[in-house]
C-alpha cells in the first residue's frame, strides 16, 4: 500500500515558516481551508465537551475520540509514513491498558501505581516491538504482517488465559486515584455553570495527553527521521544504497508507534476504570483502526483526527439516528425495517465502502486536492 503524494508540486514546503503555530504543527500545515476549519471545529468541540453537553455519554464519546486519535495517528506513522503493515497494533494498545489496570488493581489506587504500570507497559511494548522488528522486518512485507498477526493472537490468548494477573476474559476493574474519581471536587463553585468533578478532570487529562501525543507524532513524521521513513516507503533499496540502515529505521518506527499505542491504551483504561480483552485487544479494534486511517487519509496525520472523530461518532450515534428515522418512516413498507437500529452495522459498512471508494486518498487527501483545483 502506498500513500498518495501528499505534497502538491506548486507548494514550496522547503521554506520554513516562523510563528508559534507553524512550530507547534512542525511546519506541516493542513494546507486546505476546509480541512483547517474541520480540524479546529473538532479540537474545539473536544476541548469544550464538558461545558457544551450534559450527561455522561457525550463525554465518553469525546474521550474515546481522544484515545483513538492517538491510536490511529500512531498506526498512520507505521502504515502511511513507513509503509509497514502490522496487525499487532492492538497488542500494544492492550499492553497499555493492562499496564494501568494491573498497576492500579494490584498496587493500590494512587498515581505512583499508575506510573509504575505505565512505565512497565511502555518497556514491555518497546521490547516486543524491537524483537518483532529485528526478527522480521528483514523479511518480505507479507511475512512481516503474518508474524505480527501470529504474535498478536498469541498475546490475546495469553491475556485471557493468565486470569490470575489479567482477570482473564472478565478483565480487570479498578479504582482510580482520588483526583480522577467522580466524587472529587476541585472547586467549590460551578465553573461556567458546570460543577467540575473527577470525571471532567480525567477527561482533560485524556484530552491534553492526546493532543500532546498527536503533536509529538506530527513532529516525528516531519523530522529528518520521518523523511527517511517516507524515503524507505518509496524505495527501500535506494534508501539503503544512500546510507540509511533500513532495518534500524523501520524498527525505530515500530517502537515509536508501539509506545504511542501503549499510551493510548493506558488512557482508555484510565477512562473506563476497566480493561479487558474486548476493550483493547480484540481484532475488531484492529480493523476499526485500519478503517479510520484509510478514511481519514493515509500518511497525513491529520487524517487520524478526522477518521477517529467520524468513526467513533458513527459508532456511537448511528443507531440513535436510525431509530429516529425508522420511527419517522413508520407505516411505509420495507423502509422502516431497512433502517431499523439493528441494521446499523450494515449501514456503517456501506458508508465506509462508499467513502473509501469515493476518496481513495482519504478525506484529508480529498480536501487538499480540492484546494488545488
Amino acid at each position: 500500500m502506498t500513500a498518495t503524494p501528499a505534497i502538491p508540486a506548486s507548494f514550496d514546503e522547503a521554506r520554513p515558516r516562523g510563528g508559534l503555530l507553524a512550530g507547534l504543527l512542525s511546519s506541516d500545515m493542513p494546507r486546505s481551508r476546509a480541512l483547517s476549519f474541520i480540524l479546529i471545529a473538532i479540537v474545539l468541540v473536544l476541548a469544550l465537551t464538558p461545558f457544551l453537553f450534559s450527561g455522561s455519554q457525550p463525554l465518553s464519546t469525546a474521550a474515546k475520540i481522544c484515545v483513538f486519535i492517538v491510536l490511529v495517528a500512531s498506526y498512520d506513522l507505521l502504515l502511511g509514513y513507513s509503509g509497514i503493515v502490522s496487525f499487532a497494533h492492538t497488542m500494544f494498545f492492550g499492553i497499555g491498558g493492562y499496564g494501568i489496570a494491573i498497576g492500579l488493581e494490584k498496587l493500590g489506587a494512587d498515581w505512583g501505581s499508575a506510573a509504575i504500570g505505565l512505565v512497565a507497559a511502555l518497556c514491555t511494548s518497546a521490547i516486543l516491538a524491537i524483537a518483532i522488528g529485528l526478527l522480521s522486518l528483514r523479511v518480505r512485507a507479507i511475512f512481516f504482517s503474518m508474524i505480527t498477526l501470529a504474535v498478536a493472537s498469541a498475546m490475546a490468548v495469553l491475556a485471557s488465559q493468565m486470569s490470575g494477573i489479567t482477570g482473564g476474559e472478565d478483565g480487570l476493574s479498578f479504582q482510580l486515584p482520588y483526583a480522577l474519581r467522580p466524587a472529587f471536587r476541585p472547586f467549590a463553585e460551578p465553573v461556567f455553570g458546570v460543577m467540575i468533578n473527577g470525571r471532567i478532570v480525567a477527561y482533560y487529562l485524556l484530552f491534553f495527553v492526546a493532543m500532546g501525543m498527536f503533536l509529538l507524532m506530527l513532529r516525528i513524521v516531519n523530522s529528518p527521521f520521518g523523511r527517511v521513513l517516507q524515503a524507505i516507503r518509496e524505495n527501500e533499496f535506494r534508501a539503503e544504497a544512500l546510507g540509511y540502515r533500513v532495518v534500524a529505521y523501520r524498527t525505530a518506527a515500530s517502537v515509536i508507534s508501539a509506545l504511542a499505542a501503549t499510551v493510548a491504551g493506558a488512557l482508555l483504561a484510565l477512562w473506563l476504570r476497566y480493561n479487558g480483552p474486548d476493550t483493547t485487544l480484540s481484532f475488531a479494534i484492529m480493523i476499526d483502526i485500519l478503517l479510520m486511517v484509510v478514511i481519514g487519509g493515509m500518511g497525513t496525520m491529520y487524517g487520524a483526527i478526522i477518521g477517529a472523530a467520524l468513526f467513533v461518532l458513527a459508532q456511537s450515534y448511528l443507531q440513535v439516528l436510525m431509530e429516529a428515522g425508522s420511527k419517522a418512516l413508520a407505516g411505509i413498507p420495507l423502509l422502516p425495517n431497512l433502517i431499523h437500529p439493528d441494521r446499523w452495522l450494515l449501514w456503517l459498512g456501506a458508508l465506509f465502502v462508499i467513502s473509501v471508494y469515493a476518496f481513495p486518498g482519504g478525506i484529508v487527501g480529498r480536501l487538499r486536492q480540492g484546494k488545488r483545483n
Binding site: T2, P5, I7, A9, S10, F11, D12, E13, A14, R15, P16, G23, S26, S27, R219, I220, N222, S223, P224, F225, G226, R227, V228, Q230, A231, E234, N235, F237, R238, A239, E240, A241, L242, G243, Y244, R245, V246, Y249, I256
Partner: protein, 257 residues
C-alpha cells in the same frame, strides 16, 4: 612488479560470485587509485553490473574481498559501505518516485550529514541541507524542476537526478552504471560533462560501466575489460583497445563504425 605507492581508493581481491553453477564474477582482483577514472567494459552478461553490486554491497560475494582505502568492507551492508565512501548510481533509474527532486537530493545530503536520526527537529530547520541540495540541483541543471517528482520527469532528467544523488553523497568512489543508457543524443553531453566535472574536482575516484566506446575514449584514464566474469584486459585506453584479446572478445564487433 608493481610497487605499492599509495593505498588504492578501492580494491577488490579475488572477488567471486556464483549463482548455482554459474560463475558470474570470477576471481576479479583490481585496484583503483585515487583521482582516476576507470571504464569497465565488456559484452552484455560479462558481469559488469554484478561486479558493481558486489562492490557496493547489494550482493554478497561467494569469495574474495572489497577494500575501501585499505579497510575491508566485504561484510558490511550497503548502507554502511555508503558511509565508508562508496557511492553508487544505478543502471535502471532508481529514485524515490513520489518525492520531489529536491527531496530526493536532500535525502542524500542528509545521509551524508548523518542527520537521519534526528527525531524532534522539523526537517526544514536544517537550512544547510536544503541549500546544499539546491546547489547540487543547480549543478546538474535541474534547479527549475526542484518541485517535480521523478515519476513525471523525463528519462534524461531522471538520469541527471541520479547523478545528483551520487554527488550529494560526496563519495570517495563514484560508481556509474551506464549513466547515458536510454538517453536521447542531445542529453548525453550534459551527463558526460557532469562526470568529467566530478573527475576534475578533487581527487574523486570514478568507476564507469559504459557501452559507448567514444564515451569511454574521451573520459577514461584506464580501461578494464570483463568477459564472462573474468578480467581479461587492463591498461590505458589506447593499449587496451588495440590489444588482440579485446578486439576479438568485445571491441572488434562493437567499435566498427
Amino acid at each position: 612488479m608493481t610497487q605499492k605507492t599509495t593505498t588504492p581508493a578501492l580494491e577488490t581481491r579475488g572477488l567471486t560470485i556464483r549463482f548455482g553453477g554459474h560463475v558470474a564474477v570470477n576471481n576479479v582482483s583490481c585496484r583503483f587509485s585515487p583521482g582516476t577514472l576507470t571504464a569497465i567494459v565488456g559484452p552484455n552478461g560479462a558481469g559488469k553490473t554484478t561486479y558493481f553490486n558486489l562492490v557496493s554491497g547489494q550482493l554478497r560475494a561467494s569469495a574474495g574481498e572489497v577494500l575501501v582505502e585499505g579497510e575491508d568492507v566485504t561484510n558490511l551492508a550497503p548502507s554502511a559501505r555508503a558511509h565508508r565512501g562508496l557511492g553508487r548510481a544505478f543502471q535502471l533509474t532508481n529514485l524515490f518516485p513520489q518525492l520531489t527532486a529536491l527531496e530526493n537530493v536532500r535525502l542524500a545530503v542528509q545521509s551524508r550529514a548523518d542527520a537521519g536520526w534526528s527525531l524532534f527537529k522539523v526537517w526544514n530547520s536544517r537550512r544547510d541541507l536544503i541549500e546544499k541540495a539546491e546547489a547540487i540541483l543547480e549543478r546538474v541543471r535541474l534547479a527549475d524542476k526542484r518541485h517535480v517528482a521523478p515519476k513525471t520527469l523525463s528519462h534524461g532528467d531522471q538520469r541527471k537526478l541520479e547523478v545528483a544523488l551520487l554527488i550529494a553523497m560526496e563519495p570517495k568512489v563514484f560508481m556509474f552504471d551506464e549513466p547515458t543508457a536510454g538517453m536521447s543524443v542531445d542529453e548525453v553531453p550534459t551527463v558526460l560533462e557532469l562526470i568529467h566535472d566530478i573527475k576534475q574536482r578533487g581527487d574523486a575516484t570514478v568507476l564507469l560501466v559504459e557501452h559507448k566506446m567514444d564515451v569511454v575514449r574521451s573520459l577514461a584514464d584506464r580501461i578494464v575489460v570483463l568477459h564472462n566474469g573474468t578480467l581479461v584486459a587492463d591498461g590505458d585506453p589506447a593499449t587496451v583497445i588495440a590489444s588482440p584479446v579485446v578486439q576479438e572478445a568485445y571491441l572488434g564487433v562493437e567499435v566498427r563504425p
